[in-house]
Amino acid sequence: MRRLLLIGVMLLSAFVARADEVTFEALSPKVVTRGEVFRVEFTLNAEPSGFVPPSFQGFDVLAGPTEAKSQSIQIINGDVTKSLTFTYTFVLQGNEAGKGSVSAAEVTVEGQKYRTEPFTVEIVDEGSAQSSRPAVVGGGSSSASSEATISKDDIFVRVTVDKSRVYKGEPVRATFKLYTRQPMSGVESAKYPSFNGFWTQELSDQNYQWQRENYNNKVYDSRIIREYLLYPQQVGTLQIEPFDLTVIAQIIIKSSRQSVFDDFFGAGPEVQEVRRKLSTSPVRIEVMSLPSGAPASFNGAVGQFSLDATAPQGAITANSAATYTLRISGRGNLPLINAPKVEFPTSFELYNVKTTESLKTTTSGISGYRQFEYPFIARAEGRYVVPAIEFSYFDPRTAKYEILSAPALELEIARDSTSAGQTSSGIVSGLTKEEIKILGQDIRFIRLSSPQLAPKGRLFMWSPLWFCLMGLFVVLFIVAYTVGNRYLKNMRNDRFVRGRRANKMALRRFRAAEDYMKQGDQHGFYEEMLRALWGYMSDKLDIPVADLSRENIREELYTRNIPDEQADRFIRIIAECEQAQYSPVASAQMHDIYREGVDLLSKFESAIKR
């Protein structure tokens, strides 16, 4: 079943292919002179099964239709190509000046009907001009005297432009055409103009054919030599300079020495070749400047265009390449259009814009597209916006500027997963030696101990607790001050009393000592003297008697600005008293010691003011 289907499809396709190939065309000169006999051919590249001849208006059918069939078979590497040409030929003659028309001819090929386009043929009355060329070719009656004379009208070149007033950048089609009424053997040394002020594009060679054409009521054989599209690049009047062409024309002359032999051997009329230099007249083209008010994005594009933007496909990750494509298509001076400026984010790495074009040069201008690819590499992830792109052109048809825009492009660049972590550093610039050393090392390990969490943003400083503690300290201070102050005041009073008492106590003890001295009780005297001296010092210096020693008495006295000499004397008296207290030797010094003690204490009393 499947196989059957396949075969069916193949057959069908073969049929379709064949059917596609069928062409049915009419071939005819476009211009004829009155009375000229000419041929109209209908060619078909298939075997016809029926032919309906066309109707001719304004012509006499002299002969036809005549069928002719030609077939060729080509075998190349075993591939057989068969080509078949079927031709119906009519021989016609136009009798009235004006237009004759040929209606559609119809042919049937394998049940399918094909028709030609109806066409018209112009019949020109050349009036009294010499007889038509076939007559010339036929060797007519003109004598040798007319040799080598070719009138200016017989052969010339002409340049035509489709527009003579254009905007700057709008294409002008310039056609260089050769017209002749003489047979020609060839063309020599063509010198094309330099087209100053234009950007030129030669139209692709279309295998120009000789055509019959009516020019100034004369029928010429004409042929396009070359066609250009000219894009004016300057404003003002531009001139297409003359185009020079040298042709070799053939002039048929009848030999004066013509003999029977000549005729017999077919020498016929002689042909003389004449070189002729032809030149076109200059053509002026007025180039208008583009109107003012061009958009900021205008960059000289003239024509009709459309703009397509193609965003990069799929997800883009950082560090991978992507392409943003803009395509400008349409008709106009496409090759002169530069890549529109695209404002990519600054962190993108940009590369050269790749331009591809597919252009077709036709007679009406260049059409096709010009595509700009903007390759880029996003180095970092994130959301980016490529702003809208504006492209403007001038439309010469409406004489207005048109603005095209591609919408802003939002790009989501994903994080580069392949180079995460250590390798993500990529190019690290400006590293010092020390830093490179650090790169080689790893970070220190995490802490596994308790996280010691605390509520966020709660800091001790200026916190209520801090202020409370400060206040507490102040309160403590005030309390300590008041308590301490009172205590110290009391103590000072105490001490003051004692200090004042000291003298009294000492005096009382001195008196007692004096009594002992009178009684002669040596032991009692010294004991009382010592008690008076120590007691005085204790009270005066506010040091308990038990803590008193000679050293700290000396120090204390020193700090109270008592002269050293007096302190020494005091220490000496104490030492003498202690020594004498238990000494069996009676001493007569009791009186001296007593006096000295009293004297010293009175000095201290005046010195130590508390």
Partner: protein, 252 residues
Amino acid sequence: MKRILLLFLVIAPVVGLRAADLRALWDRANTAYVNENYPEAIACYDSIAVTGQESAILYYNMGNAYFKAGQIGKAILYYNRAQRLDPSDEDIAYNLTVAGSYAKDHIEPIPEFFLKRWVHDMRSSLSSNEWAVASLVLFAVFLAALLLYLLPLQRPLRKTGFWSGVVALLLFLMAAGFASTERREAIDASYAIVMSGAAPVKSSPDAASKDLFVLHEGTKVKLLDQLNGWREIQLADGKKGWIDTSSIEQID
């Protein structure tokens, strides 16, 4: 009032998460880190952080996890947060240096006046809380010295009290100043880290304005001014410009 309300809102879910739960999360995060499952570690640390609890150790571990996961910007952000809370920690400083070496921008800071640097070094030797405690202690010392001076004691004692009071007062002012400066830095987010891979810095708070320069992930910037969605920033080398708020994250 609003703040208290906010605090409540933040704390409300925390009440649900008891200390034991936090501890379990903490252990899970650390285990994930040890097992090199960094995304999970980050997720667990994050769920601790969203409870409103913080500590230098938590941020330090988060920074480590982000670093290992290859997110240098986040790592630097969390090391900075950790350093905020504990400026004297050596590990934080070390890891911050390592992570910083992976950041693309190397900005040469303007050399500071040596005295300023000393003061800064001294300030960052203790955290805000530690300085606050120090300030309290010094205040107590000052009051004691004042007491010594004010009470009717002997002249040398009072003299000692006076001078030590002056010294203690100066030290107290210094400690309180440091504590409050660090507190302000910790609460007011005056610094931020660039988070997006490449962020253009504009001459004005407007997307259409001119690009001055481009910053890359992990760069620390000082925040100055703000205007609908844009922040004015200053780099360590003194350059200024405006950056899109979405491409930076504040250290707070």
